[in-house]
């Protein structure tokens, strides 16, 4: 029984490697000194108190919340239809279509960002929150499609057929049979796509113009050592909310 124990030890070490960096942000956000190093000088909540004085931060937060919400709804709506088509129906070119929808996952971020910037300006769309929404929806779609595909996988098609046989119409069947069964998938998709948008930086950096989202705002602050503790406090709050968001959501392999 020696092998499993070494492996278990490795597994716990690996977890440490995964969590340590993430835990340093909150730890040092309570440090009263401005330099991020041991030993910690003293404990304070000042950095958190000072957050709401910063108007640009609040504005960036609202921008991110708005973008994330719209992106979550758009990509989940499109993903819902596509996932249903992929799971329920067989049609020519289906595999190609499924592959195409997954494509945004594997294109390097800088290429998506630069090429979209060029496209949107070509189309006469100035960089703004609108262009960020369009770009983030593109990035979020693979997540919503794969989550909803697994939601539809668990769905027994005969339930719908029974509903049709009982004389219920298409839309009513969708509302009363399909929707309740895939609802957890929809919730998961909305939360995940919101997170994808809310945390995304490179695309927003290229496409947001003078309406920064929260990550773009954080990027602009990172270079100034004096702002560091504030960024740490903000980052810790964001960490906590994303972990909570992830912990409460229904799970579909993603």
């Amino acid at each position: 029984m020696r092998r499993p124990t070494t492996l278990t030890a490795y597994a716990f070490l690996y977890l440490l490697f995964l969590y340590l960096p993430v835990l340093f942000l909150p730890l040092f956000s309570f440090n009263s000194g401005t330099i991020v190093a041991f030993p910690i000088k003293g404990w304070t909540l000042d950095w958190y108190r000072k957050l709401d004085e910063q108007d640009t931060l609040i504005q960036a937060l609202w921008n991110s919340l708005a973008v994330g919400t719209v992106v979550a709804l758009l990509s989940t709506a499109m993903g819902l239809f596509a996932a249903r088509a992929f799971v329920r129906y067989r049609f020519r070119g289906q595999r190609a279509a499924e592959g195409l929808v997954m494509l945004p996952l594997v294109i390097p971020g800088i290429i998506v960002a630069s090429s979209m910037l060029v496209l949107f300006l070509f189309l006469g769309l100035k960089p703004s929150l609108l262009t960020v929404i369009l770009g983030h929806t593109f990035l979020a779609l693979p997540f919503s499609v794969s989550i909803l595909k697994s939601a539809f996988d668990d769905f027994d098609a005969s339930l719908e057929e029974a509903s049709y046989d009982l004389g219920v119409g298409v839309f009513e069947t969708f509302r009363r049979v399909t929707l309740p069964v895939v609802a957890p998938g929809i919730v998961a998709s909305v939360l995940v796509t919101f997170t994808v948008s809310f945390d995304e930086f490179v695309l927003a950096f290229f496409l947001s113009g003078n309406q920064p989202t929260l990550p773009v705002y954080i990027w602009s602050q990172i270079r100034f050592p004096a702002k560091l503790p504030n960024v740490l406090a903000l980052g810790s709050i964001l960490l906590l909310t994303s972990v909570l968001r992830d912990a409460v959501r229904p799970r579909f392999y993603v």
Binding site: P39, Y89, P108
Partner: protein, 285 residues
């Protein structure tokens, strides 16, 4: 029913998603290609087709250097991440009692902002950072280590952390699919655990390993945040140069050309990799 055939229902329902992604992949590509044949001086765009951007890009040693470095860093990141992740995937699939909890534990940190995680590494590895101050306080070193941050090592370490679940999950899935009776058969035929792993387990997980490699390698070549934050001047990658063209240098045609060259190089390396990996997989079997 609204549509008669199953196929037409399939097309109609999937159309919004495929059309959206299809348009946003194809249209920018066309315009990017067009841009790469144009030139720009300050703000005026000259639309006379020319190959100047390509000859400039290929003649510039900096471009070649950054492109090769991006590919080598991405390759190193891929190997390190997959090598570190494989035992974990193996542990969760074969040994762990509570698989779901382990999978949850591994994915949770990655729903937090990528930017913040990279930033955390910068704070940890810095000259006056967490690691150095901790080692100094413990008396393990006398002066701060200066090789931790602003180099290729920092970039590889940070990215190996950032991509962890993308390596663990595909390998875990392929391990889960292995039929236990194959493993029993190998043991019954007199294989030692190590032989069994090399002859049965490893070959059967090659598809998972290939998937993990691609999903890590391709985006890493074009990563911007990590080299910008922890790479210093020795760790800059092609994405940083592309960003400069679209930003400070304001030379969009050259930026477009670099994007295309990066895309083609990534595609080329990925195809060669998949072909040789599948061939290798077949030979093992």
């Amino acid at each position: 029913m609204i549509f008669r055939s199953e196929a037409s229902r399939g097309y109609t329902l999937s159309a919004p998603a495929t059309a959206y992604v299809g348009f946003l992949v194809a249209a920018p590509l066309v315009i990017l290609i067009a841009y790469s044949f144009w030139t720009q001086t300050y703000v005026t765009l000259d639309k006379t087709p020319t190959l100047k951007n390509y000859s400039d890009a290929f003649a510039d040693p900096l471009v070649r250097h950054l492109m090769l470095r991006s590919i080598w860093i991405a390759g190193a990141v891929t190997i390190v991440t997959v090598a570190l992740a494989y035992p974990i995937a193996y542990f969760i699939a074969m040994k762990a009692q509570k698989k779901t909890i382990w999978l949850l534990l591994i994915t949770i940190p990655f729903w937090s902002s990528y930017l913040l995680r990279v930033f955390a590494w910068k704070l940890i590895l810095g000259f006056n950072g967490v690691m150095n101050s901790a080692l100094l306080a413990l008396g393990l070193i006398n002066e701060p280590l200066d090789f931790l941050l602003y180099n290729e090592f920092a970039v590889v370490l940070t990215l190996a952390h950032a991509w962890a679940p993308f390596a663990i999950l595909p390998i875990y899935v392929s391990l889960q699919k292995i039929d236990p009776s194959l493993l029993e058969a190998a043991t019954d035929l007199g294989n030692s655990p190590i032989q069994r792993f090399m002859r049965v387990t490893l070959p059967l997980t090659i598809p998972g390993i290939i998937a993990a490699c691609l999903i890590i390698f391709i985006p890493t070549v074009g990563d911007y945040v990590t080299p910008a934050l922890v790479g210093g001047s020795d760790g800059k990658m092609i994405a940083n140069l592309i960003q400069v063209q679209f930003g400070a240098a304001n030379n969009w045609p050259l930026g477009a050309t670099l994007s295309l060259i990066a895309m083609l190089s990534v595609g080329f390396v990925a195809i060669v990799f998949v072909m040789s990996a599948t061939r290798l997989g077949r030979r093992i079997r």
